[in-house]
Every structure is written in C-alpha cells, then in structure tokens.
Symmetry: C2
Subunit: 324 residues, 2 copies
C-alpha cells in the first residue's frame, strides 16, 4: 500500500507538471505562486490513499486529487482576503503581493481550474464524482460564512462551532477520501465509510490546531503560538471557556477580550491561565480522542483485507500525535 509520503511525492510531481497559461500573467502568476508555497498536500494525498484502499492502480484518481488541491488553494486565496491575512507560510499573501482585485479574480479562475481538472474524470464516473465535489464545495463556503458570522458574535454554542468546523474543514477531507474511493471502484456504502472516517479526522485535526496554538511546545511547533488568543479568534478553547467560565474567571476573560491596548505576551499568559484553570487542555483533548475513535470505528466497519486500510490508520494515528 502507498504511504502518505508516497502519495505526497506523486502529488508534488504532478503539481509541478501542471500546465498553466502564461497570459494574462496577473491571472496565472498568483496561481503558480500559491502552488509553490510549502504545503503538506494532505487532501490530494488522501484522494490517492482512498483510491488505493480499493485499487492498486491510483492513476484514475490523480486528476481528482489535483482538483481537490487546486480547490483548497482557491479557498486559501479568498479566505486570506476575507481574513485580511498579510502572510501565508512566511510569504506575502496574494492580495498583498499583487492586489485585492487580482486575488479575487485569480481565485475565481483557480476554482474553475479545479473543475477543469475534475472534468478529466471521464465516462460515467464523472456523474458520481461531480455532485460530491459540488456539495462539498458549497459546504466549505457555508463553513467560511459561519466562521465570519461567528466572529461578530460573542456567544457561539459548541454545536454551532463544531458544525462550522465540519463544513469549513472536515467535509473536504471527507470528500477527498470518498472521491478517491469511488475512483478506486468502491461501492457507495464503502465510499461513505471513508467519508465518515475523513469527516471525523478532519474535525479532530481542526480542534488540535486550536489546541496547538495555545499549548504547543514552541520549539517543536515551528510557528509563533498564541495568535488565536491575541486576535480573540473563536476557537474550541475560547468557546468552551465562554460557555463554562463563571464568576471572576468569566469577568477576567471578558476583560481581556475587550481590552484593545495590551501587551501580547501578557494577554496570552492570562488567557492561557484561564484555559488551564478550566481544564480545557484535557477536555478538548478528550473530545479529539472521541473524534479519532469515531474515525477508527468507521474504518473498522469497512469489510476489506485489513492491510488495505493500514495506511489510513497510520495516517490518523500520526495526526493524533502531531505536535505541529
């Protein structure tokens, strides 16, 4: 079976070989720029791994994998405009390096390019794969909209937050595996088990992201921690805190959230201390384990030679123990 690393290498090679027109350069240069940023290529690799569960031939899944990766990069380009992010992977974002109009239009063209790649899935398979891609893409937009809506609200329920994470992040991981499975020849029910697996590791992944921003070891993490705290980002930690803190702890939390003038490190230390006092590292950690267990359960239900599932299990375990 192909490991994550094998699949990442295949994706890297095909992305490098992706032919984009030269002109108009303001449309296509930003796309090339996005593809050249360092990235883990988890999603397209999962398309290949999903295919590989059911077939030794991953060729039929390559275009769909590229489509998923190009779609993902489209969402990054437009999200960076909406979130006013200046940097991505230590490089200026497209709307900063070029301008906002170019980031809007180049992102649009990237989304279309994703469909162009997907259209290479020929024959009747296209009729099965395209609706999955469409539904997922719309849900990703819905998730981003909920994320922006929630930033404007103080109180967000945990269920609402988890639904947002499912839509914004997890369904694309799920669809990657499902589309790969279909292209590998899986029956609908088999592909749905991989979808369920992907959805749950996708949610676990995002919750862990929230946790790492606060509790990661900076030496291992490789990125600055505490950014979510500094910008009052609605994470599972902040939402759990707002839903469970009472008395002075709540007052203290709200004071820090409303402060516009503060020392960065002081705010991070204060809110981290609140999270610790509420035992959030443990409770969110347990939540992540539950999602991981649900993912594993879905994989267990798939009736197939266990060796064919082993790489997906390895992947989910690797995600569970990641420190960065």
């Amino acid at each position: 079976m192909l490991s994550l690393k094998d699949c990442q290498a295949v994706i890297k090679q095909h992305l490098n070989e992706l032919q984009l027109p030269g002109l108009p350069s303001n449309l296509y240069d930003p796309m090339r720029y996005m593809f050249e940023l360092e990235a883990k290529r988890f999603r397209p690799s999962l398309v290949l791994m999903g295919c590989n569960v059911f077939s030794d031939n991953i060729q039929p899944a390559i275009y769909a994998a590229l489509a998923i990766e190009v779609f993902h990069n489209f969402t990054l380009m437009h999200d960076d405009i909406m979130d006013k992010s200046a940097m991505r992977r230590n490089r200026p974002t497209v709307h900063m390096k070029w301008n906002q109009n170019i980031a809007i239009l180049s992102g649009d063209a990237m989304l279309i390019k994703a469909y162009e790649l997907l259209a290479h899935v020929g024959g009747s398979m296209l009729n099965r794969v395209l609706p999955v891609f469409n539904q997922t893409a719309l849900q990703v937009c819905e998730g981003q909209q909920y994320d922006m809506d929630y930033e404007q609200r103080l109180e967000v329920s945990i269920d609402d937050y988890l639904k947002m994470v499912e839509y914004k992040t997890a369904v694309l991981v799920a669809a990657s595996l499902k589309i790969g499975a279909l292209l590998g020849g899986a029956a609908d029910e088999e592909s749905n088990l991989l979808h369920e697996f992907g959805k749950n590791i996708g949610i676990a992944f995002q919750l862990q992201d929230d946790l790492l921003d606060v509790f990661a070891d900076p030496a291992v993490f490789g990125k600055v921690t505490g950014n979510d705290i500094v910008f009052n980002k609605k994470t599972i930690l902040l939402i759990e805190a707002l839903n469970t803190a009472s008395g002075n702890t709540r007052k203290n939390l709200l004071k820090w959230l409303n402060l516009t003038n503060f020392e960065r490190e002081e705010k991070i230390a204060a809110i981290s201390a609140i999270y610790t006092s509420l035992n959030l590292e443990q409770s969110v950690g347990s939540r992540i384990k539950r999602y991981h267990q649900m993912a594993v359960n879905s994989l267990d239900k798939l009736v197939i030679d266990p060796t064919r599932k082993s790489e997906l299990l390895t992947f989910s375990t690797y995600l569970m123990h990641r420190k960065k």
Copy 2:
C-alpha cells in the same frame, strides 16, 4: 419555434422556482437578491434557443440554461467589487448592501451553484458539456483580467481590445448557444457553427454598448449616457480615437483624459465632438455590421430546415437595431 420571449418566460419561471437554502443567510440572501434584479436573460434564453434549433424538446437544456445564468450573475457580483460599482439596475450592489467579504464568498458559492445546476445534465452528455463550460468560464476570467490590465494602460491596440471583448463577453454568448445545441442533439460541427454565430453577435453586442453610451437617444436609452466618457473607460470609441487622432485633436483628447477637475456635461460634449470629428459612429457602426454579417454567415452554413434557424436570425436582427 420558440421565440426569445417564449424562452425568457421559461427561464423566469425556473429561476423563480430555484431552491436555495435559507442559511447561512449572508451566503444565500445575496444570491436571491441578484436573481431578483431586472434582467433580460439573453444568455440562458440562447441555451434554450440553441437546443430548439435541433430539437422540439427543450427540457434537457433547462438546467444548463440556469447554470449559464447563475454563472453570469456570479461574474456580475465579483466584477462589481473589482470595478467598485455602487449600483446595478438602480439597486445597490451586493458589496455595498452587505459588505465586500459577503460579496466575495456569496459570488464563490454562486459559481459552485452554477456547476451544481450543470451537473444535472446527466449521462455521457455531461462529458461533452462540462469542458465547454470550463473553458468558457476561464476565458471570461481572462477577459476580465485583460479589461482591468488595459484600464492601467493608455494605449491598447484594437486587436487587443477585440480579444478582450471576445473573452469577457462574447464567448459566454457563444457557449450558451453551443451547449444548447449539444443538448438538442447537434453534432460537434453543428454546435460549432452556433458557437461562431454567438461569438460574433456577442462582440457586436458589446461594441454597440460602447456606441450607445455616447450616441444613444437618452429618451429611448433609459439610462444616463456618457458614463464611459466621464470615467475614461476603454471602449472601442476611445481606443479608436487614441489610435487615429493626431495633432490638435489628439492633444485635446489627452487633455480631457488627464483632467481630474471637470464639468461632467462639458467633458461628455468635448469628447463626443472628438469622436464625431473622427467619424467614429460610422466606422464602429460598420464594424458592428461586419460582425453581424459574419454571424449570419455561420448560420447560413448550418444545413437544416431554415424555419428552425429563423428565431436566431430574428434575435440577431433585433440586437443589431436595438436603441437601448
């Protein structure tokens, strides 16, 4: 045969019946708002008319027609952001009524919605229609990029301008007819003749738009004239003028283009006078007639009972003589 009016009525009914989710409202309300703006629905009507040339049953073309209309509205929503347009059809544009982030994301979702509608084209036909749609959609983005690029340049060749118009406007008209034809059972070569017809009336349509902004009878036109002149918009008139004016006429033209403080009506009168002195109403008028003639020639080449083509001929003649 179905007339334009018949097709417009069919489109209107199906657009009214289009089911969009309620939530998140910031994602779907702007879409509904766009669909409720008054519009001629030329493009989706041409999908139905293209189908009707080859088949008495237009049902197979309805979803594709809606996809084309939804795609067109996506381009309007994003173009309005890029062009900083405050009004469309006498109503505030989406980024003004809501905000820019909502206009970006709702536009993205609209583009995906277009693909969702297109996916209803089932069976092997999807493999023929989707690539046409994809290529067209990318060309529309390229056209919009060229348009923005040209706004930053003083000199644009007529050929470059015509290519921009072809991509930004004409290919979608062409693809509407071609996709309709395919869904009506046309052979590839037959559908390509309708594509050629559509491309040429599309270019003629845009050149006429440029002309009407300056030379329309305001009482009939129903919109304020002269806006292109006021904002130095690169139209076929301005480009022809920059390419042909010399001596004092050129100096005078450049003076008005560079003036930042001016009386609106005075600038319109001055530049209109330059256009008239260069005989541009006639030369652009002849150009439009040539495109119209090329369109008619393509239709002539289509070997089919002439009554099946009559409504398309009527449509092109109607466009040629429009005063608004």
